[in-house]
Symmetry: D2
Subunit: 414 residues, 4 copies
């Protein structure tokens, strides 16, 4: 019997790799999907074989991740609970897709992963596998076999699995880096400087600001400072430049899918910068009606992706909305990076609904001030009436009352 | 006949003061409401009398503004189009209330203001007056008499009204400062350093960060760094401290009530800092269901206030929701001010729904990992089923189909 | 050790009553809460003692149910998935409250109920008990002990528990009756006439219509045909009258909390009639802004109650909104009951925002037709502009473009 | 100079036709668009020429209306304020399109229509024309020239224009009929039987029910009782059959675009029947997540169309959502028409998410009851915790508190 294991080369999945052979007697095929984590993939492969994998797959999915996942997140201004750009959440369905591809190709009917039973990733893995390969058996050893860190450490030593003494649990891909554990579990304690890797401290950031001009087509970034480039390259560049200026640190209280509140810390220089720029361009090019409604659409899209509902039909419907809406999101946004700040300071679009001729307070304005009177009157009519009725004014609501009113007026007049 | 005029001492309202006497032959009572704008109120009074006012009222409404208006905005995390903290919008209904009080006391039946026919303030003034004093005649000379700046300048010179050559049009109160006009009308041009008054440039901000601990009760700030103080004082202090660190600059594209898109620039150090802190505390103390729904409530509250619908019953209903929801928003938030950044780095509450015993990844966690299995299965059941049905799986939807299914199984079994 | 059991006198809970003594050796206190189900409560008590209860409680909670639960549902126009008036869902938290009261009074630390593991009621019972008495142990024998109907029947025969051969599973209270099972599980099969008990067939309903005039105060019905009466009495009367006219049959596909879709059939003459009347009065008295937002509030309230989240703080916040909003919902509604139809044919309120003087197309209308021009222009400005920009029109978005435009115009002019 | 006039053959537009020649000296081209109103179009043409039209267009747009407009309304379950199926609102943009086509073809630069300044149709006409032909001048004589009915009658008599003495103002097309005026302006007065033309009184409807089986493909009806037919034909047939059974009478309070509340009365047998059937099929085939969100989408779509914002980009985005969502809305719905009732009594779909094997309470159910425990626990965790925290329970929120807790436990244990 064959099984596929999502393999990171770390303690958990190395222990699981061994245990699966030991406990289940299955042949394990390991799969490492490269979504931009800064790992040494040859060493991971070596380890896989060393701990008994019958076959190892390294799959470079960075471009696919940028083009099919990150681009959607940008178009949706995706920030779960207004804060988290979804980096890990977004990569999970892609990893699942690759695991299932390998499982089908290799004839494996077990798919295993190293998630605990407390986090979000188990939801994303398990629901993805159920959707794409309902016939597969899902194996989640940490939860099912009750693996604790202490036990794993012991087991690791016995089997020559290297054990690091890192305090924090890290996940990263091109769209962001998450840091969990240790003192970060205390929500009143400031994250120590050591947790940050992609961003410098505002104090050490350059004194001079740096400007980025980002060009968008249909809501997706296509050029940086006038140079066209694939989205993957663009994201990597912005991560580097914005990180250098200390942009992209996130610290907030988050609601996990399973109902737990947790304190989460992220670094996401490109995500923070590009979503800000993108949303600003939407404000320039979309009508207020569209903007107002898209807020709900975006919020729901992020919610679905965070909660592992990638295969839910609602996601497709929301994207039907978004793709139509983004048709006008073309143009350039100028962002100033400076001491931890990413600030939009300029935007331009041929689809702009901003018209200086109309908006200006100067005398050449083409806006007819006389129009406001009727607008204000009718726009506010019900609210004003409601206020007055609440304070004693009377409306005439039936024909009999109406007749009385008319009679009274006639009496007064005669 | 008597009229009341909202008087700022500036060119527009001084010209209007004169013109009202000239054109309408009315006695004009001028009213200046102090909501924290940095003006010389004695000079305004002098001017009022100089240009013919029969009576002048200076009304200090700063405390009322903080307690009855700003507090509500904080509880609603009020940011119109996710950016504008509503400073001017929030003060207008209070100013209207004062104008109407004076008008009723003085027996005036005309209320005049200096708004143009292109902006939002006319909506706020006119709807407020219609609600509170439907019998009053509203006079809006800039729009109704077609006053242009050139004509006003000429008229001013003739009548000894001082003319400044300021480029920008400014409005300010304790909750923020707005800057309009000049190069700011070009949305691709970065706001020049000269427009900022309340905030220093991140480059000139202190190298050392400064921490503020803000204590909230029922969603309203009540103490700063452990010292209890009235909201007015607290807001003024935070404006000063956060401004010193370059916090609170806002630049975005905004939808005015009358349908125009405009580029708006604001400074609001306290608003930016306090709303961030407040929202973070909500995340700690409110359930995810409440947080998710409150997002819509907050957004609608801001929309109403921005658009001059202060007297709309929906506002009261939304506040019914908010006041109930804020009962748990008690505790402390630690904010780090640094080089233009205001970042929440710690939060604590006796109402916290965060429980380190449950959330921790350490072994002492009290969370039972076995629970997740059933949760994930049922949480994702419909999405998974929908995906599978879309890809060819069949559900049994009628009793006759069911019988056939059972028969087939029996056949197979025999 | 003592346990409390929610006891209906039916097969399931009688078997459980016996089993709890047998398996757990506990003393069982049975509790029957009367929320209007048409049961013989003396016989239930007899049975309880016969099958071994050490004590039995009959609690008449009908008035409390009407005043504290049904009234809220009316104010929220509560229809889960636009169809189900929540009868059973609404009664569960009240029953739980009574169970907990008894448990605390009697010093029992087990609370048992007869719910299966497939439905909604287990969610409502279990979450209610966890909230009100977190220290209690919840016992759900049907799911935990895997009781099947066949096994129960056998066990019942052995222990003298009477077994009915009813096809349908019924739950009822004053707010409605639900019917499940048998042919109703086939969503393409029409419910047979035999399932209906509270409503006559439209064919057999009287030829003459009957009119009800329902008076509301703050959104709650207070009088019927001019006669003031408590809500309980009013609901019972409307059930009888509307049922006689065939009003209140409901048949729809419903999403259960646990993720299952089911076909549900209900009878709810009063609920259907009163909610229709109530909503119509809201349309007369609430501003469009309030109506539009309340739709979301109502929908969420129903969702919470259906899903057993009665103790969720969001419910209180929503009710904060609703109670404020309902202040204007005063007046009379005339409903015509006829052959299965309940149609609102008249409504009147001193809080009406309808004003015949304004609305009329007759010449005495006080509405100034001139106002519409400015309103339409500004109301539609962005949409029209967006359409034109999408079809090639150009806005001027920067000062440099503006200058060029001005130059071009000057050239043309010269 | 040439003008195009939307011509109905009635008093208003006949007077306008004459007046336009008289007052403006323009050549008037009349256009009558047939969207299913029951008119004698040859007589209208005769009248047009008689009263001076230089050219008359009769345009049969019934099929286009069904396929491009009504189909969208069905997919959106379009009911403005949960009541009005939008018949008139939906036809206006199509009529505008035809007017503009004629104007462009004929080189006319004035487009005129007979709307008053108080209703919704002026908004729909004017915004449509502005979008499609911004260079056109819009002429709205009833409002602009202050035409009153008395004056029109007098003028009509002088010019041989026939004057009817109808009490009600009617508009109709295949999707519905609206009746306004007279006693209907009294919201407490029941509509007299004389206003109904398409529907019989429930009292006179057949004693026997009639069943319709409606088949949908991608959310659009394609067959009736097993017979495939174009949507136009299907709608006409359902109007006839459902009308015969008294189905489709609507009476509610409505918020007009201009802010007025009015009492509106409609007949729409097909709209009421088809939307009910359609929504029921959605419940069978869509996930709960999709259903819940689509409620907002549908509601907003109806709002836009009602308010004349047909050309607003948000409509296209909403339709992007809807078209994606409707892909699964395939199957059959059985509706029972009887004495004014249209009740869905059966539904079937190959895309059904209802699965009798899962949903059944019978023993062959495949649903694993054990799953519910974990689900309920995590689903309700935050609400239960929040309730308990509100009632005094303490969470551990910092590491120092945690250490104290651990110490206390150790003390107790030792």
């Amino acid at each position: 019997m064959k099984a596929v294991l999502a393999y990171s080369g770390g303690l958990d999945t190395s222990v699981i790799l061994k245990l699966m052979q030991e406990k289940l007697g299955v042949e394990v095929i390991t799969v490492t999907v490269d979504v931009g984590q800064k790992d040494e993939f040859e060493k991971i492969e070596e380890k896989a074989y060393k701990f008994g994998a019958v076959k190892h797959y390294y799959i470079d999915a960075k471009e696919e991740f940028a083009n099919e996942y990150v681009s959607k997140a940008i178009k949706a201004n995706a920030l779960y609970e207004k804060a988290y750009p979804l980096a890990t959440a977004l990569a999970r369905p892609l990893i699942v897709e690759k695991l299932v591809e390998v499982a089908k190709k290799e004839g494996a009917n077990i798919i295993a992963h190293g998630c605990t039973g407390k986090g979000n990733d188990q939801v994303r893995f398990n629901l993805g596998i159920k959707a794409l390969m309902p016939e597969a058996e899902i194996l989640q050893p940490v939860a099912e076999w009750n693996l604790t860190r202490d036990w794993e450490m012991e087991y690791a030593k016995k089997h020559g699995i290297p054990v690091s003494d890192k305090i924090y649990s890290i996940d990263e891909n091109i769209w962001g880096r998450s840091i969990e554990g240790g003192v970060l579990e205390d929500p009143f304690a400031e994250p120590p400087e050591e947790v940050w890797e992609w961003t410098v401290s505002p104090a050490k950031a350059p004194d001079e600001p740096e400007y980025l001009t980002i060009e968008f087509e249909n809501g997706v970034p296509v050029a940086l400072n006038g140079e066209k480039m694939p989205l993957l390259e663009l994201v990597l560049k912005v991560n580097e430049i914005a990180g250098k200026h200390g942009v992209g640190r996130i610290d907030h209280i988050e609601d996990r899918t399973v109902g737990i509140k947790s304190r989460e810390v992220y670094e996401a220089p490109a995500a923070v910068t590009l979503i800000k720029a993108h949303y600003d361009l939407e404000k320039l090019t979309m009508t207020k009606w569209l903007l107002e409604f898209k807020e709900f659409v975006d919020s729901k899209w992020s919610w679905l992706v965070y909660n592992g509902l990638w295969y839910e039909p609602l996601r497709h419907a929301l994207e039907g909305f978004i793709d139509e809406a983004e048709k006008v999101v073309n143009g350039e946004v100028k962002v100033k990076l400076w001491k931890g700040n990413a600030v939009v300071v300029g935007r331009h679009s041929d689809n702009a609904l901003y018209d200086i001729k109309v908006a200006t307070y100067e005398k050449f304005s083409t806006f007819d001030q006389k129009l406001a009177k009727g607008f204000i009157e009718l726009f506010g009519m019900q609210s004003v009436l409601a206020y007055n009725v609440m304070h004693g004014a009377k409306t005439v609501t039936s024909i009999s009352e109406l007749k009385e009113t008319i009679k009274e007026i006639e009496k007064l007049a005669s």
